[in-house]
Amino acid sequence: MMYRALFRIRFTNSLQYRAAALAGLTTQFAWGFMYVLAFAAFYRSNPAAFPMTFQQTVSYIWMQQAFIAIFFIWMYDNSIFEAIESGQISYELVRPMDLYNRWFTMTTANRLSRAVLRCLPILIVAFVLPEPYRLVFPGEWARLGLFVLSMVLSLGVVVSFSMLIYISAFSTINSIGTRIVVGVAGDFLAGGYIPIPFFPDALRIAVELSPFGAMQNMPLLIYSGYLTGSALARGMLLQVFWVVILVCVGRVLLNRALKRVVVQGG
C-alpha cells in the first residue's frame, strides 16, 4: 500500500517534465534514424553477413529508442546517489519503510514514467515511416504479450542491477566514476550499442547467460521475431533467475552496508 503511494508520487512527479521529454524525443528520433541508416548501409554492403533480417534490426532499434528509459542502465535515479552522498540517507533510515523496497519502487516508477512519456510519439512516427525503415507490428498477439512480459522482467533486471550501483555508492563517497564505468560497460554488453546477435560468437554466448543478456536484449529480440521457441523460453527463464539473484544479492549487500554506515556531519 505504502509502496503503491510512493510509486504514484514518483510517477506523477516525473510526468511533469513534459517539455524536457519533448526535446528529448526529437534527439532520440534523430539518433534512432541515424542508427537505422547506418545499419542499412552495412546491410547493402553484404546482406549475407547480417545475423538478423534487416526488418528485425529496424524493429530492434525503434523499440529500443521508444523504451530507452526502461532499458538503459545509465538512466539512473540521481536523487538516490544524492541521498547517499549528501547524508540525506539518515532521514531515509528513520522512515518505517524497507529501504531496498523503497528505492526499488522509486527507480521503477521513475523509469516507467519516463518511458510512458516518450514511447508513444516515437512509436507512432516509427510506424508510419516509409517501407524498409518502418517499425512493423509483430504478426501474432501472443508475441506481443510475450514482449510485454519480457519487458517487465527486463525492467526488473535493470532496476535490481542499478540497485547494486546505488549500494556501491556507500563505500565510494564519489560514485560518479562507478556510475559511468559500469553504465557504459553494462549497456554495451546488454546490446545498447549494437544488438547482441552482432557480437562475435564466444562473447555472444557468454553475454546471453549473464544478467546483461537478460536486459533489453530479450524483449527487443522477442518483438522483432528473432527469438522463438525454446530459445525464447530459456531466455525468459534466465530473466526470472537474474531478477531473483540480483534482488537477493542487493538485499544482502544493502544490509551489510547499512550496518557500517557512518553519516558524516550533521
Binding site: 548501409a41 552495412f42 557480437f199 562475435p200
Partner: protein, 258 residues
C-alpha cells in the same frame, strides 16, 4: 593570452585536487569512446566495408571526429555549460568585469577529463594510420591536420550556437545534442554512408561533412583534386553565423535576476 594560461593552470590545479574523481571521469570518457570503437570493430568482423570504406579508413574517420570533439570540448566547455552560467547569474558577474565576455566564458571551464576521449582517439589513429595503406606525403599530413583542427573549430562553433540559443530559452536545448554529440557519435562512419539527404544537410547546413567525408576522400586517394583536401577550411565560415547569433543573443539578453 597570459591571463588565459593562468586560468588554465588554476583549472588544472583545482581538478587535480580530486585525483580519484578525475581519474574515474577520465576513464569513463575513455570507456564511452572505447565502447563505440568496439561496436565498429565487431561490425567489421562481419563486414568488409561500408559504403565503399574499409575498416582502417573508417577508424581514421572515427578518431578524427572524437579528437576534434574532445579538443573543442576541453577548451569550449564553458559554452557547453553556458545555460548553467545564465541560470545561476554567473554571466551577470562576467558582464560587469572589464574583460571580454567571450574570454571569460572560455576561461570559466576547462574540462581535462575530456583527455580520456582524446587518448582513445590517439590510440586508434596510431593503430590505423600505418595500416591504412596511405602514402604519407606532406599533402596528406596537411589534410589530416586540417581535418582535426578545423573540426575542433567547427564543434566549437556548434557549442557557441548552443550557448546563443540559451540566451532565449535559459534552459539547455537537448536537440542541439543531435549536432554536437550526434555529430561525434554518428561521425564514426563517413557521412555519405547515411545517404544523400543526410550528406547534403551536413554539407550545406551544418558543414560537418566538410571536415570529415570530403577530406577523407582525398586522404584515402578516392579523389585526386587538392580542393578536397582544403574543404575543412571552408567549414570555418560556419563560425560567422554562430558568432553573429551569439552577439544577437547577447544584445537581447535579460538577466534571470537571481
Amino acid at each position: 593570452m597570459r591571463l588565459y594560461i593562468k586560468y588554465f593552470s588554476v583549472h588544472i590545479k583545482s581538478q587535480m585536487q580530486y585525483k580519484t574523481s578525475f581519474f574515474f571521469t577520465t576513464t569513463g570518457q575513455f570507456l564511452v569512446a572505447f565502447a563505440t570503437f568496439l561496436s565498429i570493430h565487431f561490425l567489421f568482423d562481419r563486414f568488409d566495408s561500408v559504403g565503399g570504406f574499409y575498416y582502417e579508413e573508417v577508424l581514421i574517420c572515427f578518431s578524427v571526429m572524437i579528437m576534434a570533439f574532445s579538443i573543442s570540448e576541453l577548451i569550449g566547455r564553458g559554452f557547453d555549460r553556458f545555460p548553467m552560467l545564465l541560470g545561476n547569474g554567473g554571466f551577470d558577474r562576467a558582464l560587469v568585469r572589464p574583460r571580454n565576455v567571450v574570454f571569460q566564458v572560455l576561461a570559466s571551464q576547462v574540462e581535462f577529463s575530456r583527455l580520456g576521449r582524446f587518448v582513445q582517439a590517439v590510440a586508434i589513429l596510431v593503430y590505423a594510420l600505418p595500416r591504412s595503406g596511405i602514402d604519407w606525403t606532406w599533402d596528406k599530413i596537411l589534410t589530416l591536420t586540417l581535418m582535426i583542427t578545423c573540426g575542433s573549430v567547427l564543434f566549437f562553433g556548434l557549442f557557441v550556437l548552443y550557448a546563443a540559443f540559451s540566451f532565449f530559452t535559459i534552459e539547455g536545448l537537448e536537440f542541439m545534442n543531435i549536432l554536437t554529440d550526434g555529430g561525434r557519435e554518428h561521425g564514426r562512419l563517413p557521412f555519405s554512408v547515411y545517404g544523400e539527404g543526410v550528406l547534403k544537410f551536413l554539407t550545406y547546413v551544418v558543414p560537418l561533412a566538410l571536415i570529415q567525408y570530403y577530406p577523407l576522400l582525398y586522404l584515402v586517394g578516392r579523389e585526386e583534386s587538392i580542393l578536397y583536401a582544403l574543404t575543412p577550411v571552408l567549414a570555418l565560415a560556419f563560425l560567422l553565423p554562430c558568432w553573429g547569433f551569439f552577439r544577437f543573443g547577447l544584445r537581447h539578453y535579460k538577466s534571470t535576476g537571481s
